[in-house]
Structures are given as C-alpha cells and as structure tokens.
Symmetry: C2
Subunit: 348 residues, 2 copies
C-alpha cells in the first residue's frame, strides 16, 4: 500500500509499505475512503530530528476489509469512522467518558500501530474504537457529507470537547482563541450548545469569515494586550464566561486568563507546547477560574455527532478547503504549514 512517513522536520514522503495485517484478535483492517492532515502534525513538521521514518496520520473514514477473531460488533464492509485515539470502550475510564485514557487504548503514528495517512490501516480495539455510519454508502455519498464525517475523527469533536468541558450553555459568552480548523470547530460546537455570544480571536480573514458562518458573532483580530482589551470592551469589562483555547502556545494561554471572567472557565484543546504556566493568585486562583481540557475523547461523542451530520444540523466539513490525492500528502503539509490551506483532505 501507499502510506505517509516523516523523515525529519519538513520532510514528508508517501511511500510503498507492507499492507497492514491483523496482529491481535481485536484488530480490524480498514481501507481508507478519506484521511487528512491535522494541525498537530505540524508540530513534528517543525521540529522532528532526523531518524527512523515515522508513520503519519490519525484521522480516517473507511470501509472495513477484515476483522480479527475477537471482533464481533464491526464487520467486513461496514463504513466506519476511526477516532484519532483507539480505545476498548469498556474500561472504567471509557465508561466515565474519557476514552483517551483507556487502559487498552493508544495513539496512531508509531511504528507499532502505523499511521492513518495511508491506503490501509490497522485499527486496534476495533469493536471499541470504530463507529459505523448508518445508511451511507461512501461510493455514492457526496464530497461534503464525507468531509463532515471525516471531521468527526478528530477536528470537529476536538472543538466540541473544548465546548463540552468548558460547560458552554445557553446565555453564555464564549471566546474562541485561534482560527485554525479546531478553533472554527469550537465556534460551531459553541453555537450548537446555545452560546449567546461567540467572540472569535483570529486574524486570517478567510478563516474568520468561515467562523462567522459557523456562528461567531464578533471577530477580534488583535492579539496580546490589545486583543485582551478588545474582548474586555466587548463584554462590558466583565470578561468571557468561557474561553476555548485552540492554539496551544503560551501567548494564547496568557490571552485566555486575561479575558476570562471571575468564576469562568478556560478549556484547552490546543496541545500545550509548554509545561509550566501561571496558575496562582494573579492568573487563575484569585478569579476562581477553572482550567480544563485535554485530548478529546472523540469516541464518547461520536454517535450523537454522526446523527447531527446526517440530519444536516452541522456541516463541520467546511473546514476542508483543499482536496489532494494521497500521493501529494507532502504538498498538503506545505500548504497547511504556510497557511495557504486551512485543512487538506487526502484521497487514496
């Protein structure tokens, strides 16, 4: 099969690799219908040291080709969504809704599990991980439906997780920091949850325009102290009930605690590119601010989100602005890294 590997920062190649095979009785092999590049793939694209080739990708919709002997719920021919982390969906943490902490779970993109920017993928814990899209034939489904279903593998439900953990609800003012695909997804999720006002902080007009379509009521292009002042002005000096932080860099976190209101919530889904940060009296504690978020347990939200996409309630696939064949995955990384593309879908 053809699969994507990163050799070092900036060096992404699509190569011929052995077809994946069932290794555990709980595995399934899935043939990719659509995969894509994630904003988080750009972190190693900037910093990876040369070394062994690393398989890339963790977002996928596809058709089941083969199942292990212990797989009972998923069967050959099913059209499925694979969450970006696999999980058994039965352990104590899965039951509590935190599938990314599953005791039998894990991540794609290692030599052991392989990556999903590929023609075929091995999905561990297939019964727990994969969710069937009912009544849809990928061969005849439209591109926009497939794109929206693909976002349920990661990006939309990561934005949704931010809103869920941030306890967004009717009447709340929500500020989203970041106009990448996750930030825009967070805007859409905040609208779904009934936020009264949604302020989007971002400075790429083509992206913030999509943010407005998704439900943003205000856009703030300024950053840092100027951006904080703008949001405070927009909220009568009170600050935002909820801040959804979809960037992961320290300046975004500093903006977040600058604009959150007393008793408010900062919900992070941008993977933090820092370990230590201010949380004392002057930043979080004095204002009774709640800090939450983490890797989205996509699996927990998947059935409901599939229904919303099929009903036409949400159209998160609009975050894909470029379509490329899998052979051009390297170009997809370049376009996203240079911000010429918001998010690129890849067709095997």
């Amino acid at each position: 099969m053809r699969a994507t590997f990163m050799y070092s920062a900036g060096d992404v190649r699509v190569e011929t690799a052995p077809d994946p095979v069932i290794q555990q009785p709980t595995d399934a092999i899935v043939r990719t219908v659509l995969t894509c590049v994630c904003g988080s793939d750009l972190h190693p694209y900037h910093s990876m040291d040369p070394g062994a080739a690393n398989p890339m990708g963790h977002e996928l919709i596809g058709v089941v080709e083969e199942t292990g002997s212990a797989v009972t719920r998923i069967k050959k021919g099913d059209f499925v969504i694979a969450p970006f982390a696999f999980s058994d969906n039965t352990c104590v943490f899965c039951h509590e809704g935190f599938h990314t902490a599953c005791v039998h779970g894990g991540w794609y993109g290692s030599p052991e599990t392989g990556g999903l920017q590929a023609e075929l993928a091995r999905i561990p814990q297939a019964d727990g991980s994969l969710v069937v899209v009912p009544g849809v034939d990928p061969a005849t489904a439209g591109d926009s439906l497939l794109a929206s279903l693909l976002t349920l593998s990661d990006v939309y439900l990561t934005g949704y997780h931010a809103a869920h953990m941030g306890r967004v609800e009717a009447g709340k003012t929500v500020t989203v920091i970041g106009d990448g695909a996750v930030g825009l997804s967070a805007v859409l999720a905040a609208r779904q949850k009934g936020a009264e006002r949604i302020i989007l902080m971002g400075r790429h007009t083509s992206r913030t325009d999509l943010g407005r379509k998704f439900g943003a009521t205000d856009v703030v292009a300024e950053r840092g102290a100027d951006g904080i002042a703008q949001v405070m002005d927009l909220t009568r000096g009170e600050g935002s009930h909820v801040v959804l932080e979809a960037v992961g860099h320290m300046p975004a976190y500093e903006q977040a605690y600058g604009i959150v209101r007393p008793g408010g919530v900062i919900s992070r889904v941008g993977v933090p590119q820092y370990e230590d940060a201010p949380i004392g009296f002057g930043s979080l504690f004095g204002k009774n601010v709640t800090l939450t978020g983490g890797p989205a347990p996509v699996r927990a939200y998947l059935e409901d989100a599939i229904a919303q996409v099929l009903d036409g309630q949400i159209d998160p696939g609009k975050v894909f602005d470029v379509q490329l064949p899998l052979a051009e995955t390297g170009e997809a990384y370049r376009l996203m890294d240079s911000r010429k593309a918001l998010k690129v879908a890849l067709h095997p």
Copy 2:
C-alpha cells in the same frame, strides 16, 4: 476598643485602637461575639517585613451596633455572620455566585477596612455582606453552636467551596490534601455531598482523628511519591475522582496531580504560595484534568449552611480546639504556628 495588629513576622499585639465609625452609608458597626485566627494569617506571621502595623483578622460573628443610612436589610441588634470578604450581593459576579469578585467588594485586614480580630468591626456593604442567624441569642447559645456558626465566616465554607467547585457527588472518591482546619472542613463538606470514599492526606494524628469523625474513610500519612503511591493503591491504580487541595504549597499541588484520575478534578482552596506550576501534557492536559478553586464566595453558601448548623446536620465548630480571650491573640498565633492548636477561637 481592643484590636489586633501585626508589626512584623512573629510580632502580633492586641492594642487599644479608635472605635470604628460608619464611613459609608452602606456600612454597619458590629460588636464581636467570637472571632478567630486563620491558617492564612500565618503566611504574614512567617514573612511580614517590619513596617506600619497591619490590622488582622477576617472571621467574625457578632451583634449589629449601628447601621449606615443606606442599610435596610440589617438592623441594630441582629446576630450576624460576616463572611471573610465583603460584597454587595447584587452585582453581576455576586449573581453568578462569585462574591469574592464583587465589583464593590473587598477584603479585611487593610488600614482602610480594619481587621476582625477586634472588639468592634466596620462591615462595608452591610446589606450584602452580613447574614442574620435566625432565632439565636448569642448570650444564651452554647459554645459549640457559636463555634460552628463562626466557621461559616470562612473555614468550613472554604472547605465547602473546594467540594462544590470540585463537583463532589455521590459515588465519587475524594482525596483531601491537608489536615488543617480547612482540609478537615473539606472532609466534612465532601461527606455532606455524598462522597463514597474520602481519603485524608495528613500526618497529625489528633487532626486526622477529627477527620475520621468528619467522614474520612482512609488516612494517608505519607507525602510526596510515597503518598501518591498509597492513594493509587487505595484506588486500584485509578486515582481519585476529586482532589481537594487545602494547603497551597507546591508539594501539595504536585501530590494533587499525581493522584487525580483521568478526567478528574483538582480543586484548590489553599492560597497558592506559587504563581507558575505544571499544567502541560505531563501533568494536567494529558489526563483531561480540571483545575478549579479560589477564594471562597462564602456569602453564596451562607443561608444553606446556617440552616444545616441549626438543624444539627453539621458540626464544623469542632475544628476549634483552643479558646482564648482576645487579649491573648498573640498566644493564639503562636499555638497555631507551632501546631499546638488546630484553630483558636478568640473571645472579646
């Protein structure tokens, strides 16, 4: 009147000071029935630089002596509890339940507002701040009832705030870090909220014994890595759903994120003696841990808590193990600083 002042670290004196007077039409003057020393008073007791004398104390029950012209809800002769922060109880943040962020609120212990370890106190925003204890005459009420009512000024409701923000509920495993009066109060509040299991981390047997009376099901005396290992053993390796951190020093925070379970909550009410701390992938983010807490909006919880004390449902006054006359406030600080007293009540 007699009032308490700190001159520098370790130097606390009870002196004659001018009686407080109404300064604003929203003020009231209250004659103290009972006041006390707070664990947080020990921070300046350790570190205060010599300088102007600072009035001390922020916990009080008393009888209203006089009210300003704009005070309508509170009247002379009322037996009241004064929360440790004053607030108007009408602003947007008070309505949202975060009275410690009141736009007209503030703290005691400055030269402007004075301290509450005194015979008389000026209470700003009296209508918003003070809550009447219905049907109780302090002259005939028993010592244990008065002690429990005094804890509603700060210590019990600070422990309650930890449990409230930590979303303690039936079926949860809760670990309380710290066996001071706030930690023990957090144990009692967690029991009130129906926690299934309450692990108390503390090493002073007389205190953890009271913790068991308040509802602790397990006591862990070890600290650091050993303490973390013990709690993980007690929770089948899963960790605690909720951690109530009632210390405020970095090792307590490190213990907290070491024992919290994926998707769990760390709720802090110990005033952090640090600003920066780990919150990245390796500490909070990777496990989807929620960090919450801050200065308790005691006023928000006061009516319900008064009813629980009067009904005999809770007896938080047991945290007072020493009673002294106000003249001996200096000795009260010494006893608490040397851990010979858990918490000292002061009688004018």
